[in-house]
């Protein structure tokens, strides 16, 4: 593979504390050299990307995506999902196990990472916490970890039984894996299709109470506290309520290893965006009240949130063009995350660029222990995103690299256009 030099750009690498004009040389899939403008010593013969006026940053890392393979290739494949990731500036994605069959084995975990899948960026499987995600039998976490799993979860089918969740946390802690919980007490959300409140009442839809999320987060934190001697790591997926964030904040204050992620739609949209039954505004957890949305923003600003994750959940068009209550949950997110974060978190709400990028790369890498990723220092992986931080553009779902077009952000003006995405030294996306 030819070496690749990215020259003339502004290198923003929050993990390394760098925000300066730097050239960078990638070789053998790794970062070979970083130097001042025009000062690379070993760049001879390398292909050159001219990054003048652009930001050069560690490739983005999304720790919550659904790639739908194996089993639901009509929605998305690992190839199309990672193509969307590359277009969005992501070089690593962690794939949820709610596939068909459920990824609860080392075989499926390896299958997802095989070169035949045609992934454009690195896929880190997250394995099921229990056999078939049925919440009954714990999987072999050591074997799953050896096969490449970076965490365990029964995402979408949360572990309700206290005993089973305690066992999961303890078993995962023994092998050093993170337990990710989709916090939802499903006993409180039967038949519900949006947030419970005045809007759900008005629309005649059954609602999910915020307590369905927060009570589960509080229960999980109690279990982490009980097991604190064995240092379990609980990660709360797609946090959406003020009460859940408050619980995480409190857990951290007493020194528990509890982390959380927030999805762009939960810090931008509210239940009002369901409008008149827009199925592209239906996801789980649902869009919440304005107060909850504001709490997400505050939590990002004050540092309680560890990562922005998209919960990229592709569905075929025909699956979303049905009655709201019957439509599946989820929206795509890989191509819009950076542009939404720069437009709103950075430009509108004045969070420094380095901190925004950290939430999208360094912190998620640290959270899941992805070594050599989320930073650009000599020897780390050659995962790079190069983007124009000032370019405004309009997102068009029809032009998506994903198989799916189910997004509430179609037609939105975003800030920050990806110019190149480089995965382990290879250019995997270049904008026209």
């Amino acid at each position: 593979m030819t070496a690749l030099a990215i020259c003339g750009g502004r290198l923003v690498d929050p993990a390394a504390g760098v925000d300066a004009a730097k050239d960078i040389l990638l070789e053998g899939g790794r970062v070979a050299e970083i130097a001042g403008p025009g000062k690379l010593k070993h760049a001879e013969g390398a292909d050159v990307l001219d990054a003048a006026g652009l930001v050069v940053a560690p490739g983005l890392i999304d720790i919550h995506v659904h790639l739908r393979e194996p089993g639901q290739a009509y929605k998305e494949t690992i190839a199309t999902g990672t193509a969307a990731a590359a277009a969005g500036g992501f070089t690593s994605v962690a794939a949820m196990p709610n596939t068909t069959p459920v990824n609860d084995s080392p075989e499926i975990t390896r299958w997802m990472q095989a070169p035949e899948r045609g992934a454009l960026v690195r896929v880190f499987p997250i394995a099921a916490a229990t056999r078939g995600s049925k919440g009954e039998t714990i999987n072999d976490y050591a074997a799953l970890k050896a096969a490449g799993a970076v965490a365990v979860t029964d995402d979408g089918r949360p572990i309700l039984k206290d005993g089973m969740m305690r066992e999961t946390l303890a078993a995962a802690a023994r092998v050093g894996l993170t337990v990710i919980q989709h916090a939802e007490d499903t006993r409180m959300t039967q038949g519900a299709s949006m947030n419970l409140g005045p809007v759900s009442f008005k629309l005649g839809l059954r609602g999910m109470p915020p307590e369905a999320e927060s009570s589960m987060v509080e229960r999980d934190i109690r279990l982490v506290a009980e097991l604190r001697e064995s240092h379990p790591h609980l990660h709360v997926a797609h946090t959406s309520t003020a009460a859940a964030i408050a619980a995480v904040r409190q857990a951290r204050r007493i020194g528990l290893r509890v982390t959380c992620e927030v999805a762009p739609h939960h810090f931008l949209l509210t239940e009002e965006h369901v409008g008149l039954y827009n199925t592209h505004a239906k996801m789980n957890p649902p869009l919440r009240s304005a107060a909850d949305r504001d709490a997400m923003i505050e939590a990002i600003v004050d540092g309680v949130v560890d990562a922005i994750a998209t919960d990229h959940a592709p569905h075929a068009m025909h699956e979303k063009e049905i009655e709201f209550e019957l439509a599946p949950n989820g929206i795509t997110g890989l191509e819009t995350a950076l542009g939404l974060c720069l437009r709103w978190l950075h430009s509108e709400w004045k969070i420094p660029l380095g901190r925004v990028l950290s939430l999208l790369s360094a912190q998620p890498a640290a959270l899941l222990g992805l070594k050599g990723r989320g930073t650009l220092t000599a020897g780390s992986f050659g995962d790079v995103v190069v983007f124009d931080p000032r370019a405004e553009w309009t997102y068009r779902a029809t032009e998506s690299k994903s198989k799916a077009k189910n997004t509430p952000f179609d037609g939105w003006t975003l800030l920050g256009k990806v110019r190149w995405t480089v995965s382990e030294g290879r250019v995997v996306y270049a904008s026209a």
Binding site: Q190, G191, G197, P198, F201, K202, L203, G204, L205, R206, A246, R249, Q250, L268, L269, T270, E272, H273, G275, L276, Y277, N278, A290, R293, D294, I297, E298, H318, E321, I322, E323, F324, E325, L326, W344, E348, W349, W412
Partner: protein
């Protein structure tokens, strides 16, 4: 101890709420909110005119126009009323119900709507068990869609006919309405508000013509957020106290099919919320009693009250015909929307006299 909530928060600009493009067709009636007060007034006036019109002349108003009735739920009143209203104006109708069509084979609402349009339907009247279904159908077909009840959400023609009934009793001689027409009038709605599309449509419509809506029922069937779904809506949990304030009393059926596991003590419910002759005589001796039907005698209302002098239940049914004639005339008067193919009329039931 709960973590303290900061008292001062910076005001941040956030993405605006979405702008609705509904209704796509000016003839549609998806929600009572699609109508201005003036629009409501025109429909009421037209309903009276059509009611009084010579049947022979009326038969020409929608002569040979094609209207499909698409029913995913069983219905006696609404379906018959719409069908007779269409036929009274001379339109051809066809009925598609979920139990005797390809819907049983898994055909989607969108495809069913497009199929009806391809067969020449110029408007579709939809009754569906899922809230919001009428919006999906309108977006898919771009035809005038009349919402004849969507899940727990709305039933706009029911609210219009209820309004007509209330006017007849409380504002005799008045045909149209203005924002203050029912000023000083309290309309109470009692029972299963949570699952009721009739309640939701009335709650949105009646305050806009000046009425105060008083909701009554147990917490399980009447959540607090109901009072926050619009202006002019209040909750009074004490049935007798609510009755004493009301000039119109609307009773609702407990919707067993939508309770979804909710356990309700029916004896207790009857003791607290059943409209009996004695209660009515004591607290609201002159109020008009309404019920959208079907009534469950001996449950929410006694037979004596249902058949009594204060009951307007059958008048409501009759008023439905007039209202629906006006609604269908409006639906097909507006000429915006997708062009329809009118070359074939095979199989459409003729509305004219033989």
């Amino acid at each position: 101890m709960k973590p303290a909530i900061p008292t001062t928060r910076r005001q941040r600009s956030t993405p605006p709420a979405p702008v609705s493009s509904f209704p796509y067709h000016a003839g549609s009636l998806l929600s009572v909110l699609d109508l201005t007060v003036n629009g409501v007034s025109q429909l009421l006036i037209r309903a009276t005119e059509l009611d009084n019109e010579d049947p022979i002349l009326r038969d020409h108003i929608l002569a040979k126009r094609r209207i499909a009735l698409l029913f995913y739920e069983s219905s006696t009143r609404t379906r018959t009323s719409f069908e007779l209203a269409c036929k009274a104006l001379g339109a051809d109708t066809t009925l598609v119900s979920s139990l005797s069509s390809s819907i049983e084979k898994g055909e989607s609402l969108k495809d069913t709507g497009l199929t009806l349009r391809a067969l020449g339907a110029e408007a579709i009247i939809l009754r569906h068990n899922s809230s919001g279904a009428a919006w999906l159908l309108e977006e898919s077909t771009r035809l005038p869609v009349i919402n004849a009840g969507d899940g727990m959400h709305e039933h706009p023609t029911q609210a219009l006919l209820d309004l007509r009934t209330i006017l007849t009793h409380l504002r005799p001689g008045l045909v149209g309405v203005a924002p203050d027409t029912l000023a000083g009038v309290t309309v109470m709605i009692t029972g299963d508000i949570l699952h009721s599309r009739v309640a939701r449509s009335n709650m949105q419509l009646l305050p806009r013509v000046g009425a105060r809506v008083l909701l009554c029922g147990p917490k399980e069937l009447l959540p607090e957020q109901a009072a926050r779904s619009g202006p002019g809506i209040e909750i009074e949990r004490d049935f007798d106290a609510a009755l004493a304030q009301s000039q119109a009393v609307m009773m609702l059926r407990i919707q067993a099919e939508r309770l979804a596991g909710l356990q309700l003590d029916l004896d207790e419910y009857k003791a607290n919320y059943q409209l009996t002759g004695q209660r009515l005589a004591t607290h609201a001796p002159t109020a008009v009693v309404l019920h959208p039907g079907p009534i469950i005698r001996g449950m929410e209302i006694t037979a004596g009250v249902a058949d009594g002098v204060q009951s307007a239940i059958l008048e409501q049914v009759t008023n439905g015909l007039a209202i629906r004639m006006a609604v269908m005339e409006r639906a097909l008067a507006a000429e915006t929307g997708a062009p329809t193919d009118r070359s074939s009329s095979v199989g459409w039931e003729h509305g004219g006299r033989a």
